[in-house]
Symmetry: C2
Subunit: 320 residues, 2 copies
DNA sequence: CCGACGCGTGAAAAAATCTCACTTATATGA
DNA sequence: TCATATAAGTGAGATTTTTTCACGCGTCGG
């Protein structure tokens, strides 16, 4: 069985044009210019040796022939889509749970997930957050990772903030947060200048309030940043203490003061103009974000697909 | 409904490769090199993010995934083929009868028809021959052309040899035969030389015997050719008289003598080395072959498709 | 052990596809 | 009515995709 067919891309153009009854709209759908569609259709008509559209002013109409051809062409495209979709379902299909630190989930993962969903619509992904994914100060102890039910359809993976040593797991370093000072752009236009780090003297510093009882991780502190910036004489215990990191960032956005935040996690706010980074001084804690996958599920295709995608995304962040 | 699909050509390559279980054979089917298939498949696998084939030494095997994907891909291609075929059936479908002079049918049309069939498999074409398609010497009288039943599914067209004036018909000139001397290549290697036209003295001339009762058309004669060639003193009434033109050519092929034949109609014999044209001297009668279509059917798509194709083929002959 | 065979690779060539700048035709509305 | 905007068409040139070429690898069969 050998198929005698025109360039298949022209059939795709035909289907889109016939559906929209507009070269312009079809072009938009296929992300090309209307001219491209025009050429494709013309080529197809030439190949077939009969016209598919009646070109009226400002409107297209299918010819008798075009109308006759459309359903089967559409069916063909649907077959292709179905072939791929169902096979992806076979290969990758299933559920995947990603548990990560709340800030990472809220400020980074959730913004990038739509892309993953587009690339892998057949993977039903559930995001979960847990403070347990943040290594405690004395580190190395990892709980819960080994208790994965291997038969479970819901494969679970973790993104952890910590030192990268997790027994019985495949570990990939994503990136280390780069903490820098951030504030509302309005603050820069205010009366008090903020040109050099020492100007911070006259500003309200927003601190992450560490609950000592929780044995909190080694978060970046203003003390550390000010030291790197070479600023002395600022009492780090001044300013506002806020326990919730999300609330802290909101405060910075609202112009309440200057916060320390990870460059990578506030990308969206900076792009949107809600936050600015007045100084190019960053501190990097020894800890980083890691993708941690229990060995038992590491070979599952859902996991490898997610891992491959996540590492690619993380690489962009590292470079950018 | 917007389809998210890989380059469709790669699906075609996949189907062919999967069917043959060989890149090489698939390449042959699609008239490309095996490398091209290799690249296409690789690209598709990259797009899909899973392998379609297991590459063994000297043999391919479909992966689980490839096997899962194949049926729907095939179905898609079949849909496309069906879409086009059925629409062509709607547009062009039907029967077409082409009546032409016997020699034209046997020596030219029949060799070119397979191409038309390939281009228009939906048109069932019947070849007919009739001496009536050759204008009689007193010309202008055309019989039978007007008596076409317009409702008839069997649309009839004619190829006529004559002067080109046919009332009530669309007429296109195809080409005028160019008569030249032809003989078997063996004759040239024989003892009697055939380097210049006057050498024909020593050869047997094969004549088309004209049946005077039939009011035969103005065929080219040796008298005319010898005059153009500037040869005198050959008695044209010598040589062998043969009444059937096919038989006459057979005789030439068998080395019986030298015949006068139309360059265009003996192309195949020359290419096959059964005949040679020792001299580049041709005579062109005033008559030519014409495509003659009764007005009543001239607008039918079967006719326009045939006409377009035939004129293109005839143009090649005129140039070549 | 050698040569033929089938597939793979990367760079270069060829072909297709797309875009750009400009045109046409006509409907809209000031 | 006439300028304006819209959708499509054209042909040349740019771009991207596809194909080829030259060569490499592993192995099967004599």
């Amino acid at each position: 069985m050998t198929y005698r067919l025109p360039p298949l891309s022209s059939l795709r153009a035909f289907e889109a044009a016939a559906r929209h009854l507009s070269f312009k709209d079809a072009a938009a759908e296929l992300s090309v210019t209307p001219t491209a569609i025009s050429h494709q259709i013309r080529g197809l008509e030439e190949y077939l040796d009969f016209p598919l559209f009646k070109r009226l002013t400002r409107a297209l109409e299918l010819t008798h022939e075009g109308r006759a051809m459309l359903p089967k062409v559409r069916e063909g495209l649907e077959c292709f889509a179905a072939a791929i979709e169902s096979t992806r379902q076979v290969v990758f299909g299933g559920r995947l749970v990603v548990t990560s630190p709340p800030a990472f989930a809220a400020r980074w993962l959730i913004r990038h997930l739509p892309e993953f969903n587009a690339a892998h619509p057949e993977i039903r992904l559930r995001m979960a957050t847990s403070l347990d994914t943040i290594d405690t100060a004395d580190a190395a102890h990892v709980s819960g990772l080994s208790r994965v039910d291997v038969r479970d359809d819901k494969t679970e993976t973790f993104i952890r903030y910590g030192n990268g040593h997790y027994d019985g797991c495949r570990v990939d370093r994503l990136f280390a947060p780069a903490y820098t000072a951030v504030c509302s752009p309005l603050l820069l236009k205010g009366m008090r200048p903020l040109n050099v780090p020492s100007d911070l003297r006259r500003h309200n510093l927003l601190h992450h309030e560490v609950d000592s009882e929780l044995d909190q991780p080694a978060l970046a502190t203003w003390d550390q940043w000010l030291q790197v910036a070479g600023v002395t004489g600022i009492t780090a215990d001044g300013g506002t203490q806020i326990s919730d990191p999300g609330l802290l960032l909101s405060a910075a956005i609202d112009g309440v003061g200057v916060a320390l935040a990870s460059k990578q996690l506030i990308e969206a706010e900076v792009l949107a103009g809600r936050l600015v980074m007045p100084f190019d001084i960053v501190i990097r804690p020894a800890q980083a974000y890691y993708l941690v996958v229990p060995e038992a599920v590491a070979e599952r295709t859902v996991v490898t697909a997610f891992r491959r995608w996540l590492l690619k995304e993380a690489a962009k962040v590292r470079e950018g």
